[in-house]
Amino acid sequence: MKVVQISFLLASRNLWRNYRRTIIMLVAISVGAWAMIFMTALMRGMVNEMLRDGIRSLPGLVQVHNSAYRDDPSINNLVSMTDIEIETTFAAAGIERYATRVRVPAIISSERESRGVTLLGVDPLRERSIEAVGSVIAEGRGLESIDDNGIVIGKKLAGKLDTEIGKRIVLMSQDPDNEVADRGFRVVGLFEANLAAQEEAFVFAGRTVVQKMLGIDGRVSEIALTGDDYRNVELLLADTRRLMDGRDEVLSWQELDTFLGTMLGVMDGFVLVWIVVIFLALSFGLVNTLVMAVFERVREIGLMLALGMRPSGIMLQIIFESLLLLMLGLSIGNALAYASVIPLKDGLDISVVAEGMEMFGAASVLYPEIQVNDVVLANVVVLTLGLIASLSPAWRASRYEPVKAITKV
């Protein structure tokens, strides 16, 4: 125990002997640690926002469809249960955050223009409970009930259709017998979304109104369920599968949007690679510093060995010196990273490349997010690999022949 104490004391004093070298190395480690955490926070912020947007647009963490619906999203492929059956089944199981929706492709026409859209027949209260896209109303009002006669469309779409609140538009789709089903709606509200594409893709109307228009009373195209943590959907998935009892297709968001699902995995991989790359770039300097520190003190080390210090004590000294250097650098780097995120609390505006970010499915304001597990990962990786990198110089130092070392000029 005593050896450890002495080695530690010697190491901490040795560190400041050549303060210039130590400071340069500290700066390098701090910059490295800062870059690891700050860059990761930016990327995490972007990807998390992307995932949240994606999940809002799906919407939900888990969805239930007729097994043919995803390949053929038509009116003929509906969920096997009626909406009343769904309501009683889900209520009995204690599931509250879900929404049943009619979802069909349609053509929307103003008096001037036509566009292809996805028509959603929704229950506005339930939509809010799953935080689906379309709940943020920019102008006018949102839908008020499932038999609301109005329609809510995206702000961007309104511009393209040359229409506005209070005007009428016509929606055209097909009923189960492939007869054209159309109906006029009055635009009552315009919604806003993070991604421009969402504002153009979706239009919302009351569920029963849409069911009546399409002639599918009591039937829906999808059930969307949500939970608290998008990383853990297994439980929700299993519960839903059990409730649906083998009928219909129950899928998680990763399966529904494979791009988003992959993104999360790629991001986790990227964080680790980035941390290791930075460490490797640092490690050359670290080992160099230790080699120099040992080289300068050959005579001293020889003396200590001659006076009876065990080689393991020398080794400990060098390793402690390295760990102290790393820990100091890491603390400064961590503090810097946390500090540099504060001014970006309100988001980093990258709207100059908004359309480019939209290609990634990302929004144009970046909110850096420091995740504790990323910070822990960075620190643990650096300390562990740092320890390994300092083993070789430490080992060499402990193997000096005392007499030769003392007489070395």
Binding site: R20, R21, I24, M25, V27, A28, V31, G32, A35, M39, L42, M43, D71, D72, P73, S74, N76, P105, A106, E111, R112, E113, S114, G116, V117, G159, K160, M172, S173, Q174, N178, V180, T258, F259, T262, M263, G265, V266, G269, V277, I278, L280, A281, F284, G285, V287, N288, V291, M292, E296, I350, V352, V353, A354, E355, G356, M357, M359, F360, G361
Partner: protein, 412 residues
């Protein structure tokens, strides 16, 4: 002679501590190799991303009515488009110019209906500006400009439950807002490999489109493919000159038509260059550390040579020369290692788990073959070299304040 002595001195000093020198060179080689590899992949991908995206549909330039690009409104037209396209083809001596129109319409088969974007394309020239005609896997692309024929995507065909030879009904609104309807025979089915794309697009001959949607010889855009992407700037003013001012038409280049493309690249470049910058800085610190050590341990020696009349400036140059030698070794070895790694992946192909999913979003293949160019080989290493030299300035300049007598007194 003096130069020779200095460089000989520098060379010997560099190898005083071979281990230290190699570690410093190692840091450079690591960063350089990584930079060469990453930059080769990145630049290669950008090129492919641009080419694949533009090749599919957009072309390099389009002549349109002002505002059409953003609003896609039926009434924003290029009047007498076929004539104008012909004029551009003959005046610019380019084949790959074609007129195109588009409208949203409900396509109905016997069982199903889907809303899709219907394009009116010139059967003769469209294959030169778009890859879709070449992707027709079943049947054929229309040849007659007025035939009542339609080509649809594979997914849409499956969803509509139709095959070639079946008929589809088109419902939509025409240029004047009036009701437009027609029946067309499916003559071809294309497969782009992207299911959503194949579900949302259909193409019919331009003449037929004009009849159905009351276009009156107008179209929505004239797509132009220049001989190369780099020739766009040269051709653009020539195209503008050929337009009659009375029509008030505008020419958009690919960047205006696909603003996301360049911006996605910019966003990617800036985040990547932030990371590369960090690498360069870390290497620079490593070099600074080494050179500072090498200067400090020679204080005694420097004191002696200074008292013999060597100026601090000359010693500073010596230190910079040493750094330059190390940095040059790092540059050459790094570029070599990086180049070899890149060549190997260029031969074997590069991929990472999940890449096929991500790549499809940007019209990229799932396996990528990076190529080494002079730019990708030296862009990164040159920055590492410059960073190394800059970082040696501090130890080199410190020599200005060294006092010979004091320096000589200092122990080794």
């Amino acid at each position: 002679m003096a130069v020779n002595i200095i460089s000989r001195l520098a060379w010997r000093n560099v190898w005083r501590h071979p281990r230290r020198t190699w570690l410093t060179i190692g840091a450079m080689v690591f960063s350089n190799a990584l930079l060469v590899f990453m930059i080769s992949i990145q630049f290669g991908m950008y090129g492919l991303m641009i080419d694949n995206t533009l090749k599919a549909f957009t072309g390099h330039m389009q002549v349109q009515a002002p505002g059409y690009k953003d609003d896609l409104k039926m009434r924003q037209v290029v009047p007498d488009a076929a004539t104008l396209a012909e004029k551009l083809r003959s005046e610019l001596k380019l084949d790959r110019i074609s007129a195109r129109s588009s409208a949203f319409a409900l396509l109905s088969s016997e069982d199903r209906s889907y809303g899709v974007q219907v394009f009116g394309v010139d059967p003769q020239y469209e294959p030169g500006v778009s890859t879709i005609p070449g992707l027709v896997r079943e049947g054929r692309f229309p040849t007659d400009n007025n035939a009542q024929e339609i080509v649809i995507g594979k997914t849409l065909a499956r969803n509509l439950r139709v095959e070639t030879g079946d008929e589809l009904t088109l419902l939509g609104s025409g240029r004047d807002g009036s009701f437009a309807a027609a029946v067309a025979e499916i003559v071809g089915i294309f497969d782009s490999g992207v299911p959503d794309f194949d579900r949302s697009i259909a193409e019919i001959p331009l003449g037929f489109f004009g009849d159905v949607f009351f276009m009156d010889h107008a179209a929505h855009s004239i797509v132009i493919v220049a001989p190369a992407l780099s020739a766009v700037e040269e051709y653009r003013p020539r195209v503008e000159e050929l337009l009659s001012p009375a029509d008030g038409l505008v020419v958009h280049d690919w960047n205006a038509l696909q603003p996301g493309l360049k911006q996605a690249i910019q966003a990617d470049i800036s985040s990547a260059f932030f990371m590369y910058g960090i690498l360069v800085i870390l290497v620079a610190f490593s070099v600074m550390n080494t050179q500072l050590m090498s200067v400090l341990e020679r204080t005694h020696e420097f004191g002696i040579v200074m008292s013999l009349g060597v100026t601090p400036g000359r010693l500073g140059r010596l230190v910079l020369l040493e750094t330059g030698m190390i940095a040059l070794a790092g540059l050459v070895l790094g570029a070599l290692v990086g180049g070899l790694i890149t060549l190997w992946f260029g031969y074997k192909g590069f991929s990472y788990p999940g890449m096929d999913q991500l790549a499809a979003n940007f019209n990229l293949p799932s396996r990528f073959y990076p190529q080494v160019t002079v730019l990708t080989l030296f862009l990164g290493p040159v920055f590492v070299f410059a960073g190394s030299i800059l970082s040696a300035l501090y130890p080199a300049l410190r020599l200005q304040w060294v006092h010979p007598v004091e320096a000589m007194r200092s122990l080794q």
